[in-house]
């Protein structure tokens, strides 16, 4: 739990908050590799980023999503308010289902993406990466039968990802968890209570089989212990930001600060992005008569986006981090830039997400890659191949029930 501010500490207000899982995570953070997210002390990695990544892909691993922002929107106007805010049609969302959404400014620039959980007919949970209360309040203006509660500090959550994740939850006693389908929600009893204080959604940010586990902060440690006991023989391990970033890139998921610059934080004109540029066309539902940014997005759909986010398979094995992209091997005609890149162990390919001028997508794409070898810098030009499908989308991510272990 958050410790009470120490009155004798001159930096009390500056110190990072501790997640409800902190005591257990701190004990396992062998490298003391902490960074921060939304004011929380947050692990970059615990032991070794590659090890944690392999746990995600080969056994299972937990990621602390307490710092993620969580808002409960309730009341008769909640659905209408959200439906006007996000680009997807959430009137189609059924109860106990989750959907991935994004929302834009009036000008159609992406503010953030996140997930909406439909908890009841007029009760929704919205989660996202950055604090969004100000925008929610603006979006709520004119919707009077609506209550917005910031639950960010009041819901503890862990993401449990990897092929053995279902087995671990079964071992923990979550009856019927194997029948939970992707993007569905279920509630379970916990800590001997008749109630169902544990909410499980089959969601995640790794593209693999996985679940997100939601519980009250005062049960957090008890829950951790039960989970880790159940996971003991299934290779359970906490993972941090670095492994997340590898897994999500293989799955083709976008990250703020990498693929997109949140519109409300963008200073330079159009240095933010639209859903079309980010290849999120499938999230924009023009069958819906109105949503924020619709007019601007309609215009962009008809004119075509200037840039398009693409997946690249790059020859060689040098990650194309921060590379410029060209239409020719001589690197004379610049056509874009890489946003995220890595050597993917599971796909065994040199992969990247990149913003490329839409007009240049038909030509061959070349990346100018800088890398260093024992303090000496080198560069090379590598040919890129457009990849349509996510680099990593295993059958097990969708299988219901998932394979037993």
């Amino acid at each position: 739990m958050n410790s009470m501010p120490d009155v004798t500490d001159p930096f009390a207000g500056e110190r990072l908050k501790e997640s409800p899982f902190h005591p257990r995570q701190a004990a396992l953070n062998l490298r003391d590799a902490w960074s921060s997210w939304n004011g929380y002390k947050f692990a970059d990695y615990y032991y070794d980023e590659e090890y944690e990544y392999f746990c995600i892909r080969n056994s299972c691993a937990t990621y602390d999503i307490c710092p993620m922002q969580k808002y409960i929107l309730s009341g008769p106007d909640a659905e209408a308010m959200l439906n006007r805010m996000v680009t997807r049609d959430i009137t189609k969302l059924k109860e106990n289902r989750v959907t991935y959404v994004c929302w834009c400014t009036d000008e159609g620039r992406l503010i953030d993406d996140g997930t909406i959980f439909k908890l009841g007919a007029d009760r929704f949970l919205l989660t996202c990466g950055s604090p969004s209360l100000a925008w929610l309040r603006k979006s709520a203006f004119g919707f009077n039968q609506l209550h917005i509660t910031d639950m960010s500090d009041d819901i503890a959550a862990l993401s449990l990802q990897g092929p053995t994740s279902c087995e671990v939850l079964k071992k923990m006693g979550l009856q019927g968890i194997e029948n939970l389908k992707p993007f569905c929600i279920s509630h379970f009893p916990f800590a001997g209570s008749e109630d169902t204080p544990l909410m499980v959604s089959r969601t995640g940010f790794t593209g693999d089989l996985g679940y997100e586990l939601w519980i009250s902060p005062d049960l957090a440690l008890e829950f951790w212990d039960a989970l880790y006991r159940a996971g003991e023989n299934y290779g359970i391990q906490p993972y941090g930001e670095s492994a997340t970033n590898m897994a999500r890139l293989e799955a083709g998921f976008i990250m703020p600060g990498m693929e997109f610059n949140e519109a409300l934080k963008t200073i330079h004109f159009q240095y933010d992005q639209t859903p079309f540029e980010l290849s999120l066309d499938w999230l924009v539902d023009f069958k819906k008569p109105h949503f924020n940014g619709r007019n601007a997005l309609l215009k962009e759909r008809d004119q075509g986006a200037e840039y398009t986010l693409v997946k690249l398979d790059i020859e060689g094995n040098k990650p194309a981090e921060e590379s410029f992209l060209y239409a020719d091997e001589d690197c004379s005609k610049e056509i874009g830039y890489v946003t995220s890149a890595m050597w993917s162990p599971v796909v065994k390919a040199n992969i990247a997400l990149a913003m490329v001028k839409t007009s240049a997508l038909k030509s061959t794409i070349w990346a100018e890659i800088y890398y260093s070898k024992e303090l000496r810098h080198h560069s090379k030009v590598a040919k890129c191949t457009l990849q349509k499908k996510p680099f990593w989308a295993p059958e097990r991510a969708r299988a219901t029930p998932p394979a037993a272990f």
């Binding site: 006007r84 009036d106 004119g142 619709r294």
Partner: protein, 519 residues
């Protein structure tokens, strides 16, 4: 079901004007007015059996173009060639009288300066005049007509000559007080000349903003800012507008409160397709043109769920709180102002600029002033139908009376304000208290209720730098069209603003007709 080309919401002068222009082009027009009469804030109301008074009580800048194009003279409009004197009342009876280009009651220096001052302001007013009847350019849209308007404004400014251009740039946003102090000595004169820059706004003599522009806007009228009343009073103008509308084929319905603008959604987006009345009647139309204030139009009639988030919040933040109250008195005879032969002018009680400033200070903090300042007309002197024979009606605009009074507008608060106003009047017109048969006070909150007007604001929305020209009421709705296809604005909340002028109604009609041509 019958469907119209246009439904106009509101039968104030702008709604009537817009309706008439459209009907003259052969379009079918249904005008819906919530109250039982026409005229909106220029309605002449019976406030006591046999006694009637117009809310807006004089004309300063009614558009001559509109008079001409709508043939208002033919429809019975009888403007007066005479202007009203503006009389700065002095407790001791030594009043300052502004009579066209002449002033009395001030020293020679002030008289001479006034002549020069007037010449300069007239030049500025003349330069700006064409732009009040033009659609303002769209921000960020470099279309040819928009660039032309910008270009014309630049050219007009340039044609003023280097010195005057500089001077215009200097004074345009000057507080009234600075402009007065650098020109005149006489306290009453300074107050009187500032008056038309201030009235209707939440600005006082020391406020830098659009006071001078407001003055120049009002100087766009036939008499360069001097006030006048048509024969037959304000009602004469409204009747002429009504006749013109009927003659052009407009269907006018009063007692028809629009509850909702019907917005239909399809995969091609939203569009306004008609209105729903308070009684549930649905009427469809190709276009809905609203002269209701922007907040009411967008937030109540359209609804936030049909609008963009940023846009909705900008509309919500529009400053619409009115600061002018109306006092109507039924008198058993003409009031006798100390030292004034005949109260047939526009009389101003504001002994000095600080009197206005201090009244404003009270209102800023949610109170009405201990020493209110006001403008008085006895309209029954021009229109003897307003009161029974031998009796009179007094009409006063009182500044600054806040829409949101601290503690709310209780009966007691209204009574106290009323007494304070009568006390003030009594000191300038001894004996007036005994002449009162009946009195009514309309606070901005009352105007809001009676005339369906958010905040009860004179201009529907404050006419200040951030809410004028291509920002009026806000960008993306400043060219009369709105983010909703088929929905237009045509009231005082649009460029050029309020006052009995007709610009918004005229400009909106031009936009609608122009847009139709392009189709």
């Amino acid at each position: 079901m019958q469907t119209y080309d246009n439904i106009i919401i509101g039968g104030g002068h702008n709604g009537l004007i817009c309706a008439t222009y459209l009907a003259q082009k052969g379009q079918s027009v249904l005008l819906l007015e919530a109250t039982d009469g026409l005229g909106g804030l220029a309605t002449t109301r019976e406030f006591y059996p046999g006694f009637r008074a117009p809310v807006a009580h004089s004309l300063s800048h009614f558009s001559e173009t509109v008079v001409e194009q709508l043939n208002l003279l033919k429809h019975g409009y009888t403007p007066s060639s005479e202007v009203l004197d503006t009389i700065g009342l002095n407790l001791n009876g030594e009043h300052v009288v502004v009579s066209g280009e002449h002033i009395s009651g001030v020293n020679k220096a002030d008289q001479q300066t006034y002549a020069d001052y007037l010449v300069l302001l007239k030049r500025f007013a003349k330069m700006l005049k064409p732009f009040w009847l033009k659609t303002m350019p769209r921000i960020g849209d470099n279309s040819f007509p928009d660039l032309m308007t910008f270009g014309q404004l630049g050219l007009k400014l340039r044609l003023l000559g280097k010195k005057d251009m500089g001077e215009f740039m200097r004074v345009a946003t000057l507080p009234a007080r600075d402009l007065m102090d650098e020109n005149f000595d006489n306290d009453i004169l300074k107050a009187v000349l500032s008056w038309d820059g201030l009235i209707g706004s939440k600005m006082a003599p020391r406020s830098p903003n659009a006071t001078v522009l407001n003055m120049l806007y009002r100087m766009s009228g036939k008499h360069h800012g001097a006030h006048s009343l048509p024969e037959g009073g304000i009602q004469n103008l409204i009747s002429a507008l009504h006749n013109a509308a009927l003659d052009a084929g407009v269907t006018v319905k009063t007692g028809a409160l629009v509850k909702r603008i019907v917005i239909k959604g399809s995969s091609s987006g939203l569009a306004a397709t008609g209105v729903e009345l308070a009684d549930g009647t649905l009427i469809s139309s190709a276009r809905v043109v609203s002269s209701a204030d922007p907040k009411q139009t967008f937030l109540n009639l359209v609804g936030a769920n049909n609008l963009e988030i940023g846009f909705t919040n900008r509309i919500n933040r529009l400053r619409c709180d009115g600061y002018v109250a109306k006092l109507h008195l039924a008198l058993d005879g003409a009031p006798k102002f100390t030292g004034l032969k005949n109260p047939n002018g526009r009389m101003i009680i504001a002994p000095k600029l600080d009197a206005i400033e201090f009244a404003f200070d009270d209102a800023k903090y949610g109170e009405y002033s201990k020493s209110p300042v006001m403008e008085i007309i006895i309209p029954s002197m021009v229109d003897n139908l307003l009161a029974p024979k031998g009796q009179q009606v007094l009409s006063a605009h009182v500044m600054y009376v806040p829409h949101k009074l601290k503690g709310g507008w209780t009966d007691e608060a209204r009574q106290n304000l009323y007494q304070r106003l009568i006390d003030t009047l009594e000191s300038y017109a001894p004996g007036i208290r005994q002449q009162i048969i009946h009195g009514e006070i309309l606070t901005p909150a009352d105007l809001e209720q009676t005339y369906h007007l958010t905040g009860g604001h004179w201009h529907h929305a404050e006419l200040s730098m951030d809410q004028m020209l291509m920002m009026r009421p806000t960008y993306e709705a400043a060219q009369y069209s709105t983010p909703i296809p088929g929905l237009y604005l045509c009231g005082a909340g649009s460029h050029p603003g309020g006052g009995l002028m007709g610009g918004p109604g005229h400009n909106a009609a031009k936009e609608i007709i122009g847009a139709k041509k392009e189709l």
